[in-house]
Symmetry: C2
Subunit: 356 residues, 2 copies
């Protein structure tokens, strides 16, 4: 708004006070008054002096008052500054670590997604979100074709990380069971280890090149693979703990609750927001202004990517009012990202990857 450039101008006392305000506000949800900072704060200043500083902080765009003579509330800029350079992350307590690891052990990939989402919401008291990989980007482990009836075939695709997707496709002619089995074995063996997208592209190229001398089996193989592998182009979203948000004071108004739900009904938007976090490692935080959804509601997103090896699969994170305990939540999201990555890798390779 005003001079955000002079971060540097913030003296150490200004920073100390801003930090105090933010921490208090995160805890209380009420606008913070100069008096309460003076009392609670470590620096032995009077309320009046604090007031001066807070007025400056407001000029610089870090604080705002809901109305004259309410206390002051941190802005998005303040949170950014707080997270970037004044926060002291609190490591995830051993107890929670153990709890997470126990609940994220073994199981099929889709169960892992559910557990991760639930853990996020439970441990952060916010809404937990996990974006599952778009099948097209995953590495093929196995294919199976099951004749359903007539020319309909159920195609089941298993990714190397244990995700499963399926689709009913309709072939041009009825294909006998044995041939389906042969084809699926063939595809599994020759294409395992590549992404579905790669495979599709390769098959299409092959089809164009060899159109002339294709035999029937090859033609059928290509037909099946082309339609079958178009499975799950769009990633899914697993959400948990919506009711957590309802107890937050910022959602005491039904209108806001409604707007929130309408926003969430559009899963594609959630995916888009979360996906902003997939690039680059580590945890990313989106506050207010960064997206339509969060700004309208004064919400924030803390998210990170999970991956197997160097292949990013999806994102996971939490969503809640901007006023949240970043010192706890950022390490939590980080840890969950790592643990989920490891759990998936484990399912893949069979052995736990070496720990650093």
């Amino acid at each position: 708004m005003t001079d955000l450039k002079d971060h540097g101008k913030l003296g150490s006392r200004d920073r100390e006070i801003l930090k105090d305000v933010i921490l208090t506000y995160i805890l209380s949800a009420d606008p913070v008054s100069s008096r309460s900072v003076a009392k609670h704060g470590k620096l032995g200043l009077s309320a009046a002096s604090i007031r001066n500083v807070m007025a400056d902080l407001e000029d610089w765009g870090y604080l705002m008052q809901p109305h004259t003579s309410a206390g002051r509330v941190p802005t998005a800029a303040a949170y950014h500054l707080f997270i970037g350079s004044m926060m002291e992350a609190r490591a995830v307590p051993a107890k929670e670590r153990r709890y997470i690891q126990e609940n994220l052990k073994g199981g099929a990939a889709d169960e892992l997604m559910g557990s991760a989402s639930h853990l996020l919401s439970e441990l952060s008291s916010q809404m937990g979100i996990v974006v599952t990989p778009a099948m097209g980007e995953t590495v093929l482990k196995a294919v199976d074709f099951i004749p359903v009836s007539g020319r309909k075939v159920l195609c089941i695709v298993v990714s190397s990380t244990g995700f499963i997707d399926n689709k009913v496709i309709e072939t041009e002619e009825e294909i006998p069971r044995e041939e389906l089995t042969r084809i699926s074995n063939h595809l599994t063996e020759s294409f395992g280890g590549h992404t579905l997208r790669e495979i599709r592209e390769r098959l299409v190229r092959q089809m164009v090149e060899e159109r002339a001398q294709m035999d029937r089996v090859l033609a059928r193989t290509i037909e099946l693979a082309r339609s079958g592998f178009s499975v799950g182009e769009t990633p899914g979203v697993v959400v948990d703990g919506t009711s957590m948000l309802l107890s937050k004071p910022e959602l005491s108004d039904v209108q806001r609750v409604r707007r929130m739900f309408e926003a969430f009904a559009d899963k594609a938007r959630l995916v888009k927001i979360l996906s902003q976090c997939i690039q680059g490692g580590g945890v990313r935080v989106l506050i207010g202004e960064d997206s339509e959804l969060t700004s309208e509601l004064d919400f924030s997103v803390v998210a990170t990517a999970y991956a197997v090896g160097d292949r990013p699969l999806g994102t996971l994170g939490i969503l809640g009012p901007s006023r949240m305990d970043y010192e706890k939540i950022i390490p939590l999201v980080n840890f969950l990202g790592e643990t989920l990555s490891r759990a998936l890798a484990e399912a893949f390779s069979g052995e736990p990857p070496e720990r650093r």
Copy 2:
């Protein structure tokens, strides 16, 4: 509350007035006054006479007033009476029929569940719920075992109606890929057409009887089948249109919204409520008193079972404030149940079943 036994005592005029009150209330959500019935109603009675009747109806437990000098509101008993003997069901309009049929055509079983739930909520403006079959009760179409790593095997079970469930199981020793394929073929061929529960039971019996002379392959088969077929014992729930409910005037209080969400977080309870409807054909309506959830919130459930052949698979229905348009919603739920059943049967048999 008071003499509900003398339903018979309701004269035709009483019934007419009660019906008017219910219809008006469903439309307006406001307590309805004697005056409005007198004006709007067909019978040319004065407000005073209507008042007398309404006082009687209150004594008999069909109406209640939120407070003296508000209008009156129908009780659960009134709704039951209305649905049982005074409602005129409005057939689903042809346009909606077509819309439903188009959206419930083909596709894999899990997509069908999602579509059905969405259609329910969209067309009723209430929350749509579909309970998916517990895998244990479905008929086996095919099994597949895919080696994951070491002794871990991914077991994929396909039901004859196209539902898929999967599970990672850990075997006692590593089993080579070819043997897994042989075993899955064997199981698929010899047990297709039976329910998972039956198969498990039969295998366990077999294991006990032949314990002595079991060869290794048989032992492994039984091991795999036992653990693999324990898949999906509990049914799933697909919910859609939660935000629809938020616009209802009865949820203008955040506390209620919160209680509702907390109730819904417990999917098991939803399943239990909906499952009360699975027995007996047709549509069932639960109003208020019938369950903890609905009574606390003044909600109702309209649900029916869907089935393939004579085998009931799951239930589907809507949930919303008791004040809902039963004349429209009951036929809607009924039609959706039939259409979903047919769609699933079609996927199963390949041909649309004969129509009556």
